[in-house]
């Protein structure tokens, strides 16, 4: 199954059995790249059912993350990389997506702890912690037409892949694919959370911008692990 979304990002390395600090850095740089490339698309999706800033917000935030990495931040573990990113996102993205992605990366970092290498089960647990963080903050359920509609299938596919013996990279790849399918599936939904909910029935027939960006960011994680079947 290949990713068919309009967003793509170049593969950065070979297939990863476990994930390293370099992987985490590559993930964030890759996420920044895919978000920048799709800034207009995300603004447009948000324009339809929101306030036309999602692409701008994420681009501003991930650019800041990259700027900090460029400035010579030198974290020792994947968890530290993600924690730094979480703090930057929290203080630069704003809007709903800022605290949600900030919490997601913070919880992901917490889940990884001090590990220097991340195996497939840890990768799945990391995604689950991130998702749980988003739910804890945003209180959305699957079907509310939010980024949770991408995160939850991603977590489920990651768990299934890990249980089936996949590598960490493959786990991320499975998650990204499921997130993308979940984002596509938000299209017919009527929003019950976030800004799109103000539109009522008029929110249907549009893809949720946060679900789409979640799929992009998870795809960047898989690409960073060298594990994407295009």
């Amino acid at each position: 199954m290949g990713l068919t979304g309009p967003y793509r990002s170049p593969a950065l390395g070979g297939l990863a059995v476990t994930l390293s600090t370099e992987w985490a850095v590559a993930w964030l740089r890759g996420a920044a790249e895919v978000v920048a490339e799709n800034r207009a698309l995300l603004i447009d999706l948000d324009r339809a059912i929101g306030d036309a800033d999602h692409g701008e917000n994420l681009d501003r935030g991930f650019s800041a993350v990259v700027a900090k990495l460029d400035a010579g931040e030198d974290p020792a573990t994947p968890g530290e990389v993600l924690k730094n990113a979480a703090m930057t996102l929290m203080s630069t993205v704003g809007g709903a997506a800022g605290p949600l992605y900030g919490t997601a990366f913070l919880r992901a970092a917490k889940a990884l702890g001090d590990a220097v290498e991340v195996g497939p089960h840890e990768a799945a647990a990391m995604l689950e912690a991130a998702r749980d963080g988003v739910v804890a903050r945003g209180k959305a359920e699957v079907g509310d037409k939010t980024m949770i509609d991408a995160w939850t299938p991603a977590v489920e596919s990651a768990r299934t892949a890990a249980a089936a013996g996949a590598s960490a990279g493959e786990v991320l790849s499975a998650a990204a694919n499921a997130a993308h399918a979940g984002a596509v599936a938000t299209e017919p939904l009527v929003a019950r959370k976030g800004r799109a909910s103000y539109l009522g029935e008029r929110s249907a027939n549009h893809r949720d911008p946060g679900a789409v960006s979640t799929a992009m960011i998870l795809q960047a994680a898989a690409v960073a692990a060298g594990s994407v079947n295009l």
Binding site: D51, E56, S91, P99, G138, R195, S197, L199
Partner: protein, 333 residues
């Protein structure tokens, strides 16, 4: 897109810098992270009031910083809630020892960012209470949704809670006034034409020459439904009806009325809407005791208007009339 700006990403910083220079007698601008405080803050012993939200709604919130209103305003990017690292130092800066009230418009982003900042402020020893403004009757409220938006009623909450803080009420009392205002104010808006967010470069929605959007918010988001253009009296009736219904206004009620321009509406048109609103309220036996007509909470250059109605009591009238001295609202000072 033609705008008097230098670059989309510089709009907020440059605009706030200009604001700070224009009102240097009233406010201090803290540039990094960005927030605006009352010149004389913290006011010792007074409850501090902090509000904020996305930029593009000027004069909200910075225009309401000053005596009898806000102690700090925290501007986010255009139409984007500010971040906790802005809200936290603003909160600490205006704590005069009596605690701080966060006035938060009910948007997921604003709620989450203020919530985080409040937690962090409490960790730093500042007592924080929050009040959520959710006055927009265009949005159907339900347990399962994000609820109603905060719009025009925010101006009233900031003013009246600010007046209560100024007279020396403690944090619980100020929060109670704010909540009383929230419970008694309802708003509804209309757009004749959309606005263009600088970073997006295209209008936030498209309307045909003979269409208007009823139930728009303040972020250029589309409204609840689209109808054929009507005359001002017809549109006014459409906006007012759900407000009076939701507030269950009855003969003898006294109200504070705001007819607010969304940024691109001539004052003359706002007064035409005001005229009809008063006529309709009076026909119901409702007395318009105080009023505001003008651009008080905007969506950039959007063409349209909103109506906000607050049920008054003697205490609220007294608080309203007490001195206020901010860039955008000033009397008795």
């Amino acid at each position: 897109m033609k705008k008097l700006i230098n670059s989309p990403r510089a709009v907020v910083a440059e605009s706030v810098e200009g604001f700070g220079r224009a009102h240097a007698d009233l406010v201090t601008v803290h540039p990094e992270p960005l927030f605006i405080t009352r010149k004389d803050s913290p006011v010792s012993g007074k409850v501090g009031l902090v509000s904020g939200g996305g930029s593009g709604h000027e004069p909200l919130h910075a225009g309401y910083v000053g005596r009898g209103m806000l102690d700090a305003a925290v501007p986010g990017a255009m139409f984007t809630s500010p971040t906790p690292d802005q809200i936290l130092p603003a909160t600490i800066a205006v704590d005069g020892g009596a605690g701080v009230l966060h006035i938060v418009k009910n948007y997921t982003g604003d709620v989450l960012n203020f919530e985080t900042a409040a937690e962090l402020a409490e960790e730093e020893g500042v007592t924080v209470r929050s009040v959520l403004v959710n006055d927009d009757v265009a949005v159907e409220d339900s347990l399962y949704t994000a609820g109603r938006r905060g719009v025009g009623g925010t101006v009233f909450v900031e003013r009246l809670a600010g007046a209560a803080a100024e007279r020396g009420d403690d944090l619980d009392a100020v929060a109670a006034v704010a909540q009383r205002v929230v419970d008694n104010v309802r708003s509804m808006g209309v757009a004749l034409a959309a606005c263009t967010v600088p970073h997006a470069g295209v209008p936030s929605f498209d309307l045909a020459e003979d269409e208007i959007e009823i139930g728009i918010g303040i972020h250029g988001e589309p409204g609840r439904h689209r109808i054929a253009m009507e005359d001002a009296d017809g549109i006014t009736a459409r906006l007012l009806e759900p407000i009076t219904a939701d507030l269950a206004l009855t003969a003898g009620d006294r109200v504070l009325l705001m007819v607010n321009g969304m940024g691109g509406t001539p004052a003359s048109e706002l007064y035409i809407v005001f005229r009809k609103t008063v006529e309709l309220l009076e026909a119901q036996g409702v007395k318009v005791e105080r009023s505001l007509v003008g651009n008080y909470i905007t969506a950039l250059e959007m063409q349209g208007a909103s109506i906000s109605v607050l049920r008054l009591d003697d205490e609220l009238v007294e608080l309203w009339d007490s001195p206020v001295h901010t860039a955008a609202l000033r009397w008795g000072a």
